[in-house]
């Protein structure tokens, strides 16, 4: 029997597959589709201090093997999140990672503090990489100095495992990663969406009202894998890999590149049971290859020439 357990700092997951922020709502929406407790963890939609309606419409569009979104962190706000959404997950037998964002350092710290206080919160994921908001988001995640500041502020207010979610839209992701690690991140998750655009040639309008948006899905998988590999060369902090995972083979690629766990994003929309199929595929693979612990795969790629 192979052991699917993975450890991310002090956070222990029963298996290395979670659902990614913004693609799994508040964790309850897919309960009609499968037993959500089978997941390694759920990462909730980014929550901010105040409720947000999000960006103007349209805000999603399909692209070749991918999709663009500019939801703009639409969410119910931390208050309703803590009183309505988190409690609905109380009986689930899986970990809950609360993804948070702010528009400045104080609001990042405050939402992080409030989310950490709730007993159902097993870990915090700090979203410093959303391309779809004017303040916060990318402005932090593309700058090592800002990254250090916001991570330090979050670290100061939480003892729960702190995961920092990185953007691929940078010249050198290693710099930003090291800034986050040095400021106290327990783990890194990458990638958030790639900046991209599409245009409706008939209306001559951008496919997404705001113009630039975030690209996800299988199209970005090679970019995501490359970034995971680059960051893994720089730090031993646990890496959670995501970006375009569509099947268990993709997940194994991320492990080999250096990730100890993965998140499933866009695949949830395509196949709600996709995350489960990834879990059982990894399990079968591990058994067939006599892998006693999944963590053996992390970084096990044979180094390039």
């Amino acid at each position: 029997m192979s052991d699917m357990k993975v450890q991310i700092g002090s956070l222990v997951l029963k298996n290395p597959v979670m659902t990614a922020s913004g693609t799994f709502g508040y964790g309850t929406e897919y309960m009609d589709f499968f037993d959500v407790s089978l997941l390694g963890a759920i990462v909730t939609k980014t929550v901010t201090l105040e409720p947000r309606y999000g960006n103007p419409l349209p805000r999603i569009a399909e692209t070749p093997s991918g999709m663009l979104n500019s939801i703009g962190l639409a969410n119910v706000g931390i208050k309703r999140f803590l009183s309505e959404k988190l409690p609905a997950l109380s009986t689930l037998d899986t970990k809950v990672i609360v993804n948070v964002a702010g528009h400045d350092i104080d609001s990042y710290a405050e939402v992080c503090r409030l989310a950490s206080e709730h007993p159902r919160t097993d870990a915090i994921e700090l979203n410093i990489s959303c391309p779809n908001v004017r303040q916060g988001g990318l402005a932090f995640g593309t700058d090592a100095v800002f990254t250090a500041q916001v991570v330090a502020a979050a670290r100061a207010v939480t003892d729960k495992p702190l995961i920092v979610k990185l953007t691929p839209n940078v010249t050198d992701i290693g710099d930003v990663a090291m800034a986050a690690v040095n400021a106290g991140a327990d783990a890194l998750s990458l990638i958030n969406t790639l900046l991209g655009m599409g245009i409706d040639i008939h209306s001559r309008r951008p496919l997404i009202a705001r113009g630039l948006a975030g690209l996800s899905g299988p199209a970005v998988k090679p970019v995501a894998l490359g970034k995971v590999y680059q960051v893994a060369q720089k730090t031993d902090v646990p890496i959670i890999g995501l970006g375009g995972i569509m099947c268990w083979e993709d997940a194994i690629e991320f492990f080999l590149a250096g990730a100890c766990a993965v998140q499933i994003g866009t695949l949830n929309f395509v196949d709600p049971q996709g995350a489960l199929k990834v879990i059982s595929g990894i399990d079968t693979y591990a058994k067939e290859h006599n892998i006693s612990s999944i963590s053996e795969l992390t970084g096990a790629m044979i180094a390039p020439e």
């Binding site: 693609t23 009609d32 999709m67 899905g217 049971q273």
Partner: protein, 263 residues
């Protein structure tokens, strides 16, 4: 469970570029109500990546089958029409909230524009089961889109009004013209319930026409969708409260007065 591998029973082009697909899926048939929709993966591939949403056109309880009526417009529908009898189709459904048929009305007025007719057949069947009188306003570009013999509908007891943009059948112009006339002369609006499904400009004009009317209208909306189940927050529609509602999970059926169709 709301995800099913359904066997395709038949596939037929009922009019130019309008196809009817019949699948065997007793669970969806069992759980569904008129106005709900399905989210279909047209093939097991990353191209196209996302599912495609379609209303339920008709259900057949005895056989556990349902029909989808769709227009071939782009990549997804062009692939969908090539699915062969015996193949399986990956379907999420039934999704969203259907029409409310429990209201205190005895006559239903249905306005369908273009492919908006698709879910209206399920709606009509449900209304007739409930012994309601049904008045159908059906607008199309050209009479070729009227894929069935209208007499059949009349035999069922429907009052049918047709408008074609090219004047090839019924009123020449938009369906909202005869509708507007009808509403101006009709007196018993309080015991009527309106249902509408069609392109945004039609619904927009319906909003104008019915502004001062006592009648309640429910409209079924379309929006580009990713998840179809309310998690991606992509398929918003502007709400009169200033925010957005999700077409997939808050709709696709809304009260005509609560949504802003202007943009």
């Amino acid at each position: 469970m709301k995800q099913y591998e359904c066997k395709l029973i038949s596939q037929q082009e009922v009019s130019k570029d309008i196809w009817r697909m019949r699948v065997y899926t007793p669970q969806i048939v069992e759980q569904s109500s008129a106005g709900q929709f399905l989210h279909i993966r047209v093939r097991d591939s990353i191209a196209p990546l996302l599912r495609r949403p379609f209303g339920i056109h008709r259900i057949h309880r005895e056989s556990g089958e349902l029909e989808i009526l769709y227009r071939v417009v782009g990549e997804g529908t062009n692939i969908m029409k090539t699915i062969l009898p015996g193949d399986t189709v990956d379907i999420l459904g039934p999704l969203g909230n259907g029409f409310n048929l429990n209201g205190n009305f005895n006559t239903a007025m249905i306005v369908a524009g273009g492919m908006g007719i698709a879910p209206c057949f399920y709606l009509i069947d449900s209304l007739l089961e409930l012994q309601k009188k049904v008045i159908l306003f059906w607008g199309v570009k050209t009479s070729e889109e009227i894929f069935i013999d209208v007499e059949i509908l009349k035999v069922k007891g429907l009052e049918v009004h047709i408008a074609t943009e090219d004047g090839s059948m019924g009123h020449a112009g938009f369906i909202t013209d005869p509708l507007s006339n009808y509403l101006n002369t009709c007196l018993q609006k309080d015991i009527m319930q309106g249902f509408a499904c069609g392109p945004n400009p039609m619904l927009d004009s319906l909003q104008r026409i019915t502004k001062n009317s006592a009648m309640d209208w429910e409209v079924s909306l379309e929006a580009h969708m990713a998840c179809g189940v309310g998690v991606c927050m992509g398929c918003g529609v502007s709400h009169r409260d200033g925010g957005f509602r999700m077409v997939c999970s808050d709709g696709p059926v809304f009260k005509l007065t609560e949504v802003d169709l202007h943009e």
